[in-house]
């Protein structure tokens, strides 16, 4: 008789109720599109169904499902990067980033002081602002930033997925960070400062 796995997953037909919202939130944040996010949830759960025997019970079922969803997201980025090569975005100047510095390399608009930034993390609206800022990045920067900073892929894997060199990846991430810094300063910390005044 085959040995029963130590910690079998719960019945798959309970997944949409137990994990549907959690998976959807993650997918929606990346896809920014309802039907695309729903498709990702469906694909994730179907893939999980096929791989059910491999669920070891070492991690929680939720963590296991999120990991499958992350792989689906990475696959999607890979596919998009094949259709629309990204290297040229790193090789051409990003005007918005160039405009931040004077010709001698000094700040043209220096960063302002963010008071008590850690308090932002406790506020629900902050996450919406951050998601909005990431969604507003040029597509190549958004892919690079999400892969490395949100999905948590290593640089060399991100390069393969995006089909770009390490140097190109650094350029895209750097530009993404400069743009996000500015976006948060205007959309969040600027607002906070005004409220205080």
């Amino acid at each position: 008789m085959p040995k029963q796995p130590q910690a079998p997953s719960s019945p798959p037909d309970t997944w949409p109720t137990d994990h549907g919202d959690a998976l959807y939130r993650y997918a929606y944040f990346h896809a920014h599109d309802t039907s695309l996010a729903e498709d990702l949830v469906q694909e994730t759960l179907l893939a999980a169904l096929t791989a059910r025997e491999r669920f070891s019970g070492r991690s929680s079922e939720r963590t296991w499902l999120i990991a499958i969803l992350k792989n689906k997201l990475v696959d999607q980025v890979r596919k998009q990067a094949r259709e629309q090569p990204l290297a040229e975005y790193a090789e051409n100047d990003d005007e918005a980033v160039e405009a931040l510095f004077a010709a001698d390399g000094h700040w043209k608009r220096p960063p302002s002081l963010w008071e008590t930034p850690m308090r932002a993390l406790e506020q629900k609206q902050f996450w919406q602002v951050l998601a909005h800022c990431i969604a507003g990045l040029p597509v190549a920067q958004a892919h690079a930033f999400r892969l490395c900073e949100i999905v948590g892929r290593e640089g060399n894997e991100a390069c393969k997925v995006l089909g770009i060199s390490a140097t190109n990846l650094w350029v895209l991430l750097h530009r993404a960070r400069l743009r996000l810094r500015q976006c948060l300063e205007i959309q969040w910390f600027g607002r906070e400062a005004k409220v205080k005044r």
Partner: protein, 82 residues
């Protein structure tokens, strides 16, 4: 002396790649003297930490959820295959 533009590039790169010794010294010297780049470096630490907490924070936002129609559709597809 590194420029602010160059320092922001190196600070950002340090998240993916260990900087060389001269680069690290150059950045540190610059940060000692430049409060704007010091702010930038602190803000990058904040951004990095925020992204790390994003997944957890996302799970607490119950305003975003799967529609009942989609839940039912996915449930039916799973039941058919299971």
């Amino acid at each position: 002396m590194l420029s602010c533009k160059e320092v922001t590039r190196l600070v950002s790169m340090s998240y993916e790649n260990r900087l060389s010794w001269p680069e690290r010294v150059g950045v540190r010297m610059h940060l000692l003297m430049c409060r704007f780049c010091t702010r930038f470096a602190q803000q990058m630490r904040f951004l990095h930490a925020a992204c790390h907490s994003f997944q957890q924070a996302l799970q607490e936002d119950d305003a975003i959820h799967l529609s009942e129609a989609a839940r039912l559709r996915i449930h039916n597809i799973l039941s058919r295959n299971y």
